[in-house]
Amino acid sequence: MQLHSELDKNIQYFEDIFTDCGDMVKRKFPISASLSRHAYVIYFDAMADRQILEASVLPRLMASAQKQPENFFVPPISLLETIKEGGMTTADLREETDVDKIIHAVLAGDTAIMVDGSETAVLVATKGFPNRGVPETSTEVVVQGSNEAFSEVMRINTALIRRRIKDPTLKVKQMQVGRRTVTDIALCYLDGIVRKEVLARAEKRIQNIDIDGILDCGALEEFIEEDYQSPFPQTQITERPDKAASAILEGRIAIVVDNSPMVILIPAIIDSFFQSAEDYNQRWEIMSLSRLIRFVAAFFALALPGLYIAVTTFHPNMLPMILTFKMAAARESIPFPAVLEVLIMEFAFELLREAGIRLPRPVGSSIGIIGGLIVGEAAVSAGIVSPIVVIIVALTGIASFAIPSYSLVAAFRLSKFLIIALAAALGLLGFWIALLILLIHLASLKSFGLPYLFPFAAGDINGFTDFKDSIFRLPIIFMKKRPIYANPEQEIRLDTAKLGNPRDRE
């Protein structure tokens, strides 16, 4: 629908639409010397920045318009020109004639100004709702490195990325999803370096979403993944702008969702969940060790309880004699089978973890002490669980915190129970069957066409160069090619011609 030239009809229309919207500010005021012509301003309180509006838009508009002759607003001179000449001190203006678009703009925090006799409204970009600025990292903390984190406002998030990549080919492609929430979504990528088929897939999948609302990135993730039934994350989530920028440089796409302090990185493979932003801020030897530890931790978090059950219940003769005796002695007075023992402790641990999230921060640590130390100690001395099981479960828990990605750990936590169940039924055979089930599942996953197990499987697509930044993190100088995510026509990222022999550096 188009705007009417008669202001009162327009006013009536907007009044009808925004009935009972108590947070809306509407004002009609005269703008000609004789007070015969009027203007109408609408915006949402606290969605629009009142300071811009009241300091630099409205007063000047009123003051300058009153100096104009009576018939000034009669076409062909456009309203926009007048307001510009009138000295409006903001640059971000646009004209709009379509009522629906005006409504959407106002709902997003813009201010609409309409005047008598004009079929065009002026939209002033006044989006300025309260937000918490640029917060500090809370879930992906590093020892050395940036501490900025994404916040809930999309524009701030894209700015944080733009500040790190000052290149005109950094594109921020915006879309809207959700019939009612009309959530802004921005795809940030480097044109030319991104793989076109991945970008096309991502755009298509986002465009195909028809839902009433997307409130955070989790819901969006589910819509753009290949296998939404898998417990394993096929997109990576980060709160760190430096991580997002580094991903974009590698040819990946960062999806910024408005109202979410997390940014989605695609494509994501299992290897990417083992990488931390800090890996490139420390010496490569040390970080290679860290990477190795993370992979070992992943195995512990996944398989340790299952392995313990399989070995103690089915194959005690596998272990050296003395260890077998020690374990048997520890379990001597325990009334439960090993599975039940492990399950009790695992349940207790999951309980602690779940409770720890809900508790206010100051109380959280005391729960850790009560739960971990006192209850664990009491359970052992009461003879309900053996000390070895406490060690195993604690080790599993600690190992799960060594992996940088929360969502991958969550998948491991769930898979752990599959391994425990099968190991309890069939010993080592069951343990291996469970591992193979997981491996088959992981091998079947793809993230935007990229095999999830890359580079451990299908590593030859990229000539195995991706192994340089996988289980080990080799020196950056070795990584001349971009990883698999990048468009193969743009695979060189490091030109070593001028670098010369590093040993001869002056």
């Binding site: 793989r195 088929e197 089915f314 194959h315 003769n317 596998m318 272990l319 050296p320 004699m321 260890l323 099968l422 039924a425 069939l426 010993g427 080592l428 055979l429 069951g430 291996w432 069957i433 193979l436 089930i437 491996l439 088959i440 091998a443 079947s444 066409g449 990229l450 095999p451 197990l453 890359f454 451990f456 499987a457 299908a458 590593g459 030859d460 697509i461 990229n462 698999i484 193969p488 026509e489």
Partner: protein, 375 residues
Amino acid sequence: MTNTAIKHDGFALNNKISLRQLQALLFLEIFGFGVTALPRRVAESAAQDGWIAVLLATAMIIPMVMIATHVTKLAPGLSFHDFASKLLTRPIGIIISLIFCTRLVLLAAFNLRIFAEITRQTMLPSTPFAAVFVSMLLLAAYGAAKGIETRARMAEVLIFIVLLPLIFVFGISGRDIDFTNLAPVLASSPASILSGSFSAFFAFSGVEVLLLLGPYLSRPKDLTKSANKVIITMGIFMAIVTAVTIARFGPANIIHQMWPVLKMMDTISLPGSIIDRQGALIMTFWIISAYATINAALFFSSLLLKDVVKRGKHSYYILGLVPIIAILAHLPENLVSVYDYFNLANSTFGLTTMVAIPLLLFIIAKIRRFKRAEY
């Protein structure tokens, strides 16, 4: 298609595997199961010259591989059944496909039974066969249902898990080995070596799936070369394993070991290890080999059935084949009759699919001057 063309075609082609993946698949499918009983079987006739028999068998299998891959490359876009039907009319195509399918089902059943026997002996003495059958078959079925791409990526990961314990064990086995057990070289009669190599020939059971792979290769042109490479590598590996195992136990003792390679892994003393017995090592090697072989047989037999019936997904046929394989695996009363049945199946169905069918297709294609497809 050049190498770069494939790289530019997205990350990976859908439902296609690379030649590297093919090699990993073949290695896993054939090697593990082929090698476990191999030293005993060749030592039975060729004694200490068993390893020569293995090398001879490798030399015998190579021409068959070349013929099979040549046939596959004639029409890489066509499924085996379609190709055979085109060349020999549809009824004969169906018969050949069903023979092929039977062979693979028998192979799966045999391997499943052997797997269960070994599991009972080494790990789970009191667990019933049914539990082992069901769990392993369902695992293999799950893997097969996921399709060729998943199988290929699995193979690339699994091959390390299989090879590492093997290399580890054979690498440190030096101190226990008495190489004088291998002397005198070539003392056995040519006839006994030949008969040993006939047994060793069937260690390569499963190689015939090369005939079925046509539609799934991203670069069919180099199929022959990569298949030969992996078969020769495998042959050399098998010969080394055979030689080391015979040297370890001696040709007289080895024929009393049902699965000498596993026995060897189990009894070698590892210096300073926390694992007292290498049950875990055997299990990794053994479970994964069993999985790979049964999975391959299930996958390809279901594909053949699907192509013959021309309806539905291959995973439906897997579901139908699972109980059949379980029942077949349960039929023989004891281990001796298992091997009797297996020898019988090998010399009938095995020879047909490994030698007769590729030869037949090759000759008919030559006579009918079947033009090689463009690719």
